[in-house]
């Protein structure tokens, strides 16, 4: 019967995982125990034959081509910046929109074609139809009094047709 304690030690010995003292103990035991010596040979041959299962690794040229593909990939740090830049751009756009909303055309005088001049009561931007529904029409003289500069250079013209 093979010495049970030694079977594990034989595998560890072949794995190069034993201390010097343990190696000496195994060597000593193998000299005395023929069954363990036989088992040792079996494991040694098993590993030797396992290593004969060779594989063909592709040539360096193949890996070199792959390397250039890898290097074309951007590191995470830069990739993470992309959404950050997008977010900042979006915030800038939103703030510009709101600035425009507060600095809108409300209260300004519009020349509305055949109905003459009117004061825009709604915020811009809106479709022209909405503006026309929210306009207080005034005569040219009133418009002149309200915003005398507008008469010659109206803010904008709305086509009612």
């Amino acid at each position: 019967m093979v010495c049970k304690r030694y079977e594990r030690l034989l595998v560890d010995y072949l794995a190069g995982e034993l201390s010097q003292a343990e190696q000496e103990a195994v060597k000593g035991h193998l000299k005395e125990c023929s069954k363990c010596a036989g088992l040792f040979e079996e494991y040694r041959n098993l590993l030797e034959k396992s290593r004969q299962i060779d594989i063909s690794v592709p040539e360096w040229q193949v890996w070199e081509k792959k390397l250039s593909e890898i290097k074309a990939v951007r590191p995470y740090r830069i990739r993470l910046l992309k959404p950050a830049v997008a977010m900042v751009s979006l915030l800038l756009l939103i703030s510009v929109f709101f600035v425009r909303m507060t600095d809108n055309e409300k209260g300004k005088v519009a020349r509305t074609g055949k109905n003459g001049y009117g004061i825009v009561l709604t915020k811009l931007p809106y479709p022209e139809k909405t503006i026309l529904e929210n306009i207080e029409y005034i005569d040219e003289e009133s418009a002149s009094k309200l915003l005398d500069v507008v008469l010659d250079t109206p803010v904008f013209t709305i086509d009612e047709n």
């Binding site: 079977e7 595998v11 794995a15 590993l47 004969q52 299962i53 592709p58 990939v73 990739r79």
Partner: protein, 172 residues
Amino acid sequence: MPDEKKIVFEGFYKDYAGKLYGVAFRMVNNRQDAMDIVQESFIRAYKNWEKFRNESAVSTWLYKITLNLSYDFLKKRSRDGILPIEKDFEDRRLDECHEKDIINADIVDSIKKEIDNLTPKQKTVFILKCYEELTYEEIARITNSRVGTVKATYFQVLQKIRKNLGGKKNGM
């Protein structure tokens, strides 16, 4: 990435691409899939390169990611019911015609089949120990297990293969 770090990365690539291919290939048994796994491992490493502190951390990480990608691949293949269509092991039998060599090739072939039948975890330990010649401690780090577990697994694998090959003792 600074040029200096790129050079270090390339050095690692040269040292480990073939090794990782060996691990991936032995896990999935298919050349193209193994190439894809290695490629993906290095892409992930490249993306994270500036985070790595030392060589040991990089090699452990590379083995780990290659194995994880291999496990994912095996799971997907098993789920889809696909069998590996290509084997790329060196077939030495074709070059040899002596009886002794044929017997030896037969044993090697049987061992290959035994390895293929191991669980992914057992296969991992066996590949890393037998072919990569890593220590139990290194394998434990890569597989997130205890050294004792790795040691026991390796012993069980060898014992199992030896017992299953019981009838083919010629040359062993």
